[in-house]
């Protein structure tokens, strides 16, 4: 075997797959599939299930926050002893908040977002038959699935799921008796997260290797669509930061089960006395956690940024403004993501001087972020904009990223953060900039690539309703929270009605809760649109419905395993030749003409 053949052994192996499609059984086609497109759909649908569950949890605890004095008999039917007397118990409230955070951050916006789109888009857009290692790719999904099952089962144990916040700080997470969910709930939580780390590692290694090694002829790195660049940096962030969390969890497991005191020291429990643990440091856990936790924010955000760049350019019929600057800013964000973790810890007893260094590094993120925002805006500028639902969600993403990003500058200042830390201001900030914004990126991606995924069209009218209600709802929910936070209203409290100073927000909280329910309903409408369209949607007639330049649209409408029939197309140009020389778009596969102008 020649050297060249060794390098591409697997890629060539797939050449046959397309022709042997009919040999697939149900099990190999839909369950243990090694086709990256099917794995992407598995990630997407599992992510959607979690999104519904996580969203439902938020509606439930918003019910408590908005109507602390009312009782809802259906809660007792739904939650049993956790909703005694039609009111969510404090334990259940904390469990819901914790699970909502964990599920949305890790399962929906990490696995559901980059798992779906990295799997789906990387081979299609770089021009590969499949991932570098399709088997590892399948394993990645099944580890995620196992993590999901374990997390789900933690909700049905007698003492409830873990309830110490998604960050799982010790001592609540390290002492089994600290809270109802700290024992079995926390055990399951850790197992689930460990499985998740393995899943994301298997996936990430695959994405990196595929992007570097499996590009088709002519697809140099500077001809990659920005989506791929973003997914590449996302994978790098995951591969480098998740192991640190993993180490932190191993130490936590020892603290929980083997009498060590890595994170425990000087703990006095009423009625029990002083615990024998000496010499540990709870701050150490927070450092380890946030060393993952901050890159994790960008693991969530970068794929959305990449897809939005792509969609904005396609639907403005203009090349993306500042392609190299976009890559550079992605790189800068990826590096800075690892240097700023302690800005989550300004009030934990962190050294103030060290804190000020972290302030400086944190504020530096504003530079690449601003570059991206201005590039998006200038891409839109004088564009021939087509307001498809995907485009609307992409524009919504930019809007949310700006509004949420600006409050990040406030929170990045340690002096201001001392006042704002752990208030609703923080909730508003990170929900807008990372939660809702990434969700918008995900919606944009789904609306845009749905035709490629299923060969059908989504219903546009439902898409418009979905967008307008969601964007209005997102701002109506989270904008008022800034004011609550500035007034000092702390997060993670069960009932605000007993404080004189927060009584003024009673009506506002009610309003927020009401809007959150409406927004949740509209997401169900989207789900209806999604599943209805898979089966009954309009059949795609055009191979390239958005007139896009990238490679995935040169594949058949319903590509088999192996993606392209015959040879993989060769690439001759960058992916953003829109409106060049008066031509609407020139596909990447078109050779450069002799009289073509330079870009």
């Amino acid at each position: 075997m020649s050297h060249e053949a060794v390098l591409h052994g697997d890629a060539h192996g797939h050449d046959d797959h397309g022709h042997h499609e009919h040999h697939d059984t149900f099990l190999t086609k839909y369950v243990f599939s090694q086709d990256h497109k099917m794995i992407a759909k598995q990630f997407l649908i599992t992510g959607m299930v979690w999104a519904v569950l996580g969203g439902l949890m938020s509606v439930l605890f918003r019910l408590q926050l908005g109507y602390p004095d009312s009782t809802f008999p259906f809660l007792e039917d739904l939650l049993g002893k956790w909703g005694k007397g039609g009111r969510i118990t404090p334990e259940a409230y904390y469990a819901l908040v914790t699970t909502h955070g964990t599920v949305l951050v890790f399962f929906v916006l990490t696995a559901g977002l980059s798992g779906t789109f990295a799997n789906f888009l990387i081979p299609l857009q770089v021009g590969a038959r499949d991932m570098a290692s399709p088997f590892m790719n399948m394993l990645s999904y099944w580890f995620f699935f196992a993590a999901s099952i374990v997390m789900l089962s933690s909700m049905f144990v007698e003492t409830g799921p873990f309830s110490g916040g998604w960050t799982a700080y010790p001592p609540l997470s390290a002492l089994g008796d600290a809270s109802p969910g700290s024992k079995t709930g926390m055990d399951l939580w850790i197992i689930s997260m460990a499985l998740f780390v393995v899943s994301s590692l298997l996936g990430g290694l695959n994405y990196i290797a595929t992007i570097l090694n499996m590009r088709t002829k002519g697809m140099s790195m500077t001809r990659l669509p920005l989506t791929i660049w973003a997914l590449f940096f996302t994978a790098v962030l995951g591969v480098l930061s998740f192991p640190v969390l993993f180490s932190g969890f191993i130490l936590l497991i020892f603290d929980r089960n083997f009498g060590t005191s890595f994170y425990l020291s000087d703990i006095f429990v009423n009625g029990v006395g002083a615990l024998p643990n000496e010499g540990g440091s709870a701050i150490l856990y927070q450092h380890l956690f946030w060393f993952l936790g901050h890159p994790e924010v960008y693991i969530i955000l970068l794929p959305a940024m990449g897809m939005v760049s792509e969609i904005l350019s396609i639907n403005s019929r203009k090349p993306i403004f500042g392609y190299m600057a976009m890559i550079g800013s992605l790189f800068a964000i990826a590096i800075l993501a690892f240097l700023v973790w302690a800005h989550h810890m300004f009030v934990t007893g962190l050294n103030p001087f060290l804190g000020s260094v972290f302030v400086l590094l944190t504020l530096l993120i504003a530079v690449p972020s601003a570059i991206k925002v201005f590039n998006w805006l200038t891409t839109l500028w004088r564009g021939n904009i087509r307001f498809t639902p995907a485009m609307l969600f992409a524009i919504g993403f930019v809007s949310l990223f700006i509004s949420g990003g600006l409050t990040g500058i406030w929170l990045g200042n340690s002096a201001l953060d001392i006042h704002l830390h752990d208030t609703y201001f923080v909730i508003a900030h990170f929900h807008i900039v990372m939660g809702v914004a990434s969700m918008f990126g995900m919606f944009a991606g789904i609306y845009h690539w749905f035709p490629k995924m299923y060969g059908k069209q989504l219903n546009n009218t439902l898409g418009y309703i979905h967008f307008w209600v969601t964007i209005a709802g997102a701002y109506l929910i989270f904008w008022p929270m800034h004011y609550e936070g500035l007034a000092g209203m702390p997060r993670r409290y069960y009932d605000f009605s007993i404080w004189e100073s927060f009584k003024q927000f009673g009506e506002l909280n009610k309003f927020i809760s009401l809007v959150s329910m409406i927004v949740f309903m509209v997401q169900l409408l989207f789900l209806f649109n999604f599943f209805y369209s898979i089966f009954k949607g309009r059949k795609l007639t055009k191979q390239n419905p958005w007139d896009a330049t990238t490679l995935e649209w040169t594949a058949p409408i319903n590509p088999g395993h192996g993606n392209w029939v015959g040879e993989i197309p060769e690439v001759h140009r960058w992916p953003y030749d829109y409106g060049k020389d008066g031509v609407d778009f020139i596909a990447q596969t078109t050779p450069v003409g002799a009289d073509e102008s330079q870009h």
């Binding site: 290694l205 990196i208 002829k217 591969v239 020892f254």
Partner: protein, 225 residues
């Protein structure tokens, strides 16, 4: 397109690996980088706790025994030096195995793989002896019979970190030995001869050297400084 792009298309232009390595080796490298962060996080946590504690046991007082030592004879660093050399030597034999693989020399691959496996097992046995010895002295997770170098009482974190980190490293050595045994069996079954290359041995070699590399850090952090 500018001329610069045309030049770089040679390695980066797609259709081939820009690094001239197959994807498996690339993945192995990035996996090791990721694993470096796992170990890094452990060792940095250990350092952080050491920096936030006033006293710390003197390693020369703790690790001063070796097998079959006469009663009352203490020799700090001796046993751990032996362990270090075992691992270095097994790393060298692994290099030779990889080299033999490049030359398609099955006999040498088998020979050096066997030596590497023996080295790995010897290291694990040494570690087992040391753990057992320390356990007999009363040390374990959550139990620390040793006192600080300055004569004050020590927290249990000395033993906690020692057992966790050397344990995690030992687990890596163990998996490394398993991988090497599988590679040996595959070599004996002529799997690589049929494939026409011994790249799997090379990947196993990368893992094995990484285990050696981590030991360099563990050895320094726990036994020397």
């Amino acid at each position: 397109m500018s001329t610069a792009t045309v030049e770089t298309t040679k390695s980066w232009g797609g259709g081939k690996s820009p690094f001239n390595v197959e994807y498996g080796k690339l993945m192995m490298w990035y996996f090791l980088m990721s694993d470096a962060f796992t170990f890094g996080a452990f060792l940095i946590s250990y350092g952080t706790i050491r920096f936030s504690t006033n006293g710390w046991p003197d390693p020369n007082e703790v690790f001063r025994s070796f097998p079959f030592a006469p009663e009352g004879v203490h020799a700090p660093l001796v046993f751990v030096s032996v362990m270090t050399f075992i691992l270095i030597v097994s790393s060298v034999t692994m290099v030779l195995a990889v080299k033999a693989g490049h030359e398609m020399n099955k006999k040498d691959v088998v020979k050096y793989m066997i030596w590497t496996i023996i080295g790995g097992i010897a290291f694990l046995s040494c570690q087992a002896w040391e753990w057992n010895h320390l356990h007999h002295e009363g040390a374990w997770w959550g139990r620390n019979p040793f006192i600080n170098a300055d004569g004050t009482a020590s927290s249990t974190n000395f033993t906690n970190y020692f057992f966790t980190i050397t344990g995690f490293h030992g687990f890596h050595v163990f998996t490394g030995v398993l991988i090497n045994i599988i590679m040996l069996i595959m070599t004996l079954l002529d799997k690589f001869e049929q494939r026409g290359h011994y790249l799997m041995i090379e990947k196993a070699g990368l893992y094995w050297h990484f285990v050696d590399l981590v030991w360099v850090f563990v050895f320094t952090c726990f036994y020397l400084v």
